[in-house]
Symmetry: C2
Subunit: 534 residues, 2 copies
């Protein structure tokens, strides 16, 4: 049997030259490791998902030129790599090529095109019709791409019937919590049924809202996991299919897995766009504490700036905690009080607000001053601003558009508030000293935009809120369904109404890491204008 | 032959009860007009496009309940209406039902599911397999849905082969400039080939970024236009297919058509979400002048507030023009100088900005103060804020995120700057007196965020810029292709780079009316993280 290298690389969308260099580099490493075959992820040459870039004919042509250049250098080893293929009619395909002896030896076109959740593959690609069966070092190998292995009875079955003794699946499979286990269970079932081993190579890295978590693996023909690569890191895993022992990277527990996804997604969003330094508003609350910790783990403490922007509504305790957090993390800390600017707004608006009661207008002015100051610092110094809103807030609109929603990347926008606490505890647990001050974790959450405000007074208990939101967002449940789960009917009704009426805010939010089965990203396409009420 | 009513209605997405009432109302009107058949648009019961609402099982179930309620009341007339059907396996279909004698007599499932441009129908719907041939008043009729008539040799041909003497196509066909002519040319060609008349019923109204322009029509079997409904208005057009003369609403010229699309899209975005009053910043420039005029035509002058927010960088002339425009339009006008707030920001930031040169940071602070003030007024009084940026600016990022991009609806975000001038001239032309002061149309455009700034100094001549942008955005052209059109290579390179690097701004922009073949909406899905350079 073959010695195969699983090249779990981190491509950048559109960076044809950079991705090609990386593929050459990993091919050389695989050769050094004695592999007969090296396998790269789905669309490794152009990055995944290229989205509407593939509507540019020159983009597709250039990615094929990159493939041809790779083929010429493939000598002494076979290479399987993903790219966008095109035919004479102008149809394009999500494709895998086998390169060896300086040539493109075979091309397979993906047949199962996912067009749900975050996926739009039917927007771009035609359905393939070739079998994808090749011979490598005398062994018949079936090559297929991502979704092809997920759909019961798809091409992988035909490949085995036609004599394949090994299946290779190249994927760019986006992360959500628990996805690795889903993949492993699937491959186990497939292998047992078809009785051939499966080499599964996944991409790693962040691309806008998506994180590819790697975790590439080899499933033996008997359904036992033979080898597994680490998650969230670029790596080359070389597996001698004849050998008895192989490296199996340990599975991560849930909090660690999510935390690492957040770090990688944030690091790559900034890094791939050329940002070296980030800043965020530190309120002394739990959300900004978590984001600050993630930022430090993503960029290093010298590249993170924490900015506190207090008013008279901010307690001494939260101001002290903001500073304490920055000190614990070792990041630069600035305090920019906004009271005088706020007063000047109120004075300016007084003639226009005369005779009205204070409402969210005054509260939001403060949040928007903070947004303006963070963006001014970003514009002045070239930093990326990280926003700190969580999924519970994004869901019900408990956030200020152009205020605390101002920034380039919304690190925890897919993390429910209850999960924010869990991740803070995880982060404190892995440090020798608690980096997030205990007082932050113990204090009742508040937006501090007026006196004595608390979140739960406005929204209900987060424990309940998050249960309702999860059922509504991920479960597509109706209000009645949710009440039937034992939730308070009034709270359900209010929450669902808030989710529906705040779509306009989410539409203008920055992207952030997807960690659940349904994030407020490409997998959430609700109309803003929407009068549906059950 | 039949007497048919084309019910060109304006449904609201999700408003099952309201849409059902409207369908009943138009059915009664059609009966009064002596029609044997009344035809409603695609997905009229739930509105189009319902997007992820159809992933809620209860939504689909409730829309079927609405259909059943309609069926019970369909007596003495036949009704064809669009809805979402479901089968026992949980598949859903974009469907048309024939209702008569108190029952659902037949259901057709759309076969051609568009999944390009703004369309995501393969995300939701399964492909239909029924023929859609029914008999109404003794005449064999083929029923099909929107895309079914656009694809050569699709189901309409089978229907005619099976004996259909009349085709009915129900559509919700989104507007872009010139679309009516495209539809008419298509139907003409189809009718001539298959030699049966085609009744084409389109929806009308705005839904987020889309406008449905109506223009429903009947094409005779010989390819002559028999009847046509007005564009951009709800209407019932009753056509006796035996008669010799029929009403044909006149075609609009290009500027009028686009202007009406902008008015309708803006009116429905606000109205369907419950806003009665709108406000916008008046800079004294051409963009805000056009948006103000559109707002007045959409909501009436008493429901539009113009707010000027000058600094020392705003000339006397532009301040005077802002006021003159408001006076001409008869709208409420407020001037809120922002100099003192700006100074307070500069004072607050001074310790942090010390030693740096003035750059976009100081410019953007001003734009964001304006955004904050507009939003404060919106939050205080419940107004919708209209933004005033045009497509040329949105393309190259010549706009401030959370500044002039702050607001609920971006009326002219799909209108190039050169087209903005054309629409202003059109608007002045249709009034007795020029509502947009000539000086606004003559002055060189400037953001007025520093002294003696002009747009064209930064961006190049708008005539050239818009040509480059159109080729790049709508034509998917490469920089080389554009230079080959005769454009300056350096300007092309700079412009293309600006478009690519400003994706992050567009992603956080409010929606606005689509009027071109490719807007910065659902038909523009580019990655933010993108290192592609040709």
């Amino acid at each position: 049997m073959l010695k195969v290298s699983l090249a779990q690389i981190n491509p950048t969308v559109g960076d044809l030259a950079g991705n090609t260099r990386k593929i050459l580099d990993y091919t050389a490493q695989a050769q050094k490791a004695g592999a007969a075959l090296v396998v790269f992820p789905e669309l490794a040459i152009c990055g995944y998902p290229p989205e509407d870039l593939v509507l540019k004919r020159h983009f597709v042509a250039n990615n094929i030129k990159s493939l041809d250049a790779l083929a010429k250098k493939a000598r002494g080893i076979s290479v399987i790599v993903g790219f966008v293929d095109s035919d004479s009619k102008g149809n394009i395909y999500n494709a895998a090529a086998l390169l060896s002896q300086g040539k493109v030896q075979a091309v397979y076109h993906k047949q199962q095109l996912p067009n749900y959740g975050v996926f739009d593959e039917k927007r771009y690609f035609s359905v393939g019709e070739t079998l994808g069966l090749v011979t490598i070092e005398g062994i018949k190998v079936g090559i297929n791409v991502c979704e092809d292995i997920w759909i019961d009875g798809a091409i992988y079955q035909d490949q085995v019937k036609a004599g394949a003794k090994l299946l290779i699946n190249i994927s760019s499979s986006p992360y959500h919590s628990g996805k690795l286990k889903e993949r492993e269970a699937l491959l186990k079932e497939r292998a047992k049924k078809i009785k051939v081993p499966i080499v599964y190579v996944n991409a790693v890295g962040g691309q806008d809202e998506l994180v590819f978590d790697g975790g590439s693996m080899v499933m033996a023909a008997d359904g036992n996991l033979m080898a597994r690569a680490v998650q969230f890191e670029e790596t080359l895993l070389t597996v001698d299919l004849k050998a008895k022992e192989h490296p199996i990277a340990p599975a991560l527990d849930s909090a660690e897995e999510i935390y690492k996804a957040l770090v990688l997604g944030t690091r790559d969003y900034a890094g791939k766009s050329g940002f070296k330094k980030v800043a965020l508003g530190l309120s002394g609350g739990v959300d900004s504490a978590l984001v600050a910790a993630i930022a430090v783990d993503a960029f290093g403490k010298d590249n993170v700036v924490g900015i506190s922007m207090p008013t008279r509504f901010n307690s001494k305790e939260t101001r002290r905690d903001a500073q304490g957090l920055a000190k614990n993390l070792g990041i630069e800390f600035k305090e920019i009080p906004i009271g005088k600017i706020f007063d000047m707004y109120l004075k300016t608006m007084a003639p226009f607000f005369a005779g009205t009661a204070a409402n969210t207008a005054e509260e939001n002015i403060q949040a928007r001053i903070r947004g303006n100051i963070l963006m001014a610092m970003a514009n002045k110094f070239g930093w990326l601003i990280l926003t700190t809103g969580n999924k519970s807030e994004m869901a019900v609109g408990y956030c200020t558009l152009y205020g605390d929603m101002s920034g380039g990347y919304a690190v925890i926008k897919d993390v429910f508030k209850t999960k924010v606490y869990e991740l803070c505890r995880y982060r404190n647990h892995i440090s020798r000293d608690a980096v997030i001050p205990k007082s932050i974790l113990l204090r009742a959450p508040s937006a501090e935009l007026r006196l004595n405000q608390t979140d739960e007074e406005s929204l209900g208990a987060y424990e309940d809120l998050d249960k309702i939101l999860k059922a509504y967002i991920e479960g597509h449940a109706s209000p009645q369904d949710i009440v039937a789960l034992g939730m308070n009917a009034k709270m359900v009704e209010r929450t669902v109404r808030l989710v529906d009426t705040n779509e306009y805010k989410r539409r203008q939010a920055p992207p952030g890491v997807k960690i659940t089965a349904r994030s407020f990203g490409k997998d959430w396409r609700l109309p803003i204008t929407n009068r549906y009420k059950e």
